[in-house]
Amino acid sequence: MKFLLTAWLAIATSLAAAPLKFDKTLIEVHAPIDSETVTEDFKFTNIGDTAVVIREADAGCSCISVLVSGGKLAYAPGESGTLRANFSLGSFQGAVDKQINIWLEGDPDEKPSNTVTMRVHIPQVIKITPRTIKWKMGSDPVMQIVEIEMDHEKAIHVTSVSSSNSNFEVKLVTIVNGKKYHVEVTPKITDSPGLSVLRIETNLDIKKHRIQQSFAAISRNIEKK
């Protein structure tokens, strides 16, 4: 029995060193415009001489859940498995890289054995520039423009624009119907600081993109450090 316990301990100790090899360490995916989540599988093989045990797989973001196929954590030499990453797209837009760290038993916390990357391209169907238009306190209350551009195969119409602060007047101007719009924003007065949320509603049939916002501010002078 002593021999068997010693052997078991020796096996358990040796689990720390052997590496996993992933077929791909970078998976790039273009998310459909209406998708809420993207799921990708990272396949791996234990190419070491000894068994390994996965201790943790973590992306450092509540937006990604990581699971190992079948809940199996121990892999004998030559054995393969799959790490499944499920990315909730939420409010992400553009190209997003999410790294997933994989710790094996015996790895120090600060040094995972493997890191794989999920690169997701998330369409930005409505582009708003700039995000904030600003006036300095006491400056002339001149009109400034927020540009809205649609990047979609179908026309997207702006149905309304409103300001949360009555000191800012907003006017919607159609530049190219269904493609490009301007919001003309003019403060009535600039003698005190104020912020407004500009709410831009569209007829896009994808709920998470339908309403956009930008900001207008009459700001104090703030020195950057």
């Binding site: 029995m1 068997l4 052997a7 078991w8 809420e36 045990v53 996965i54 201790r55 943790e56 797989a57 973590d58 992306a59 450092g60 973001c61 509540s62 937006c63 859940s65 990581v66 699971l67 190992v68 809940g71 199996k72 954590l73 121990a74 909730s88 797209l89 939420g90 409010s91 992400f92 999410k98 790294q99 760290n101 916390d109 700039p130 995000r131 904030t132 600003k134 600081p193 912020l195 949320v197 309403i211 916002q213 900001f215 501010a217 700001s219 104090r220 703030i222 020195e223 950057k224 450090k225």
Partner: protein, 150 residues
Amino acid sequence: MNAVAQFVAVGGLSLAAAGVTWLAKGRPSVPEPKVVECDSSLLKDDEICLADVPQDVLWIDARPRSEWEINGLDDSVLWNLDPKEDNQALEAGAAASIFESGASLVVVYCGSEACGTSKIIADRVRTLNLGPSVKVLYGGWDALLFRDSN
């Protein structure tokens, strides 16, 4: 029971226990919080050590709402990437707080040094271009948790 059977039983039970833990928790054990040692000379441009954070600061908590509600810093603002949250409302709330505070610096923290959420939120704050500089707290919540030790 003979020795071989005992060996198989011990091994089987160990693997089963590991499997149950994974299925129940979604992932194996999370590292314990640790005291954060921060050397400002080694930081990236967008990071800041807790010791260097001035009084005139607005904190943004990028952790899940449940954690922020329990022990978020006083006057901190919640802005995370939880898909269950209304991100536009969080953005508008943060913008209003940044604007009203008049702070010259915004510092974002999340759960730990390994948490990438705070960098994404910091980028979003910068995109708003409301005036203040924006930094990510090195060590995240771990640095704040042990702030009396640093």
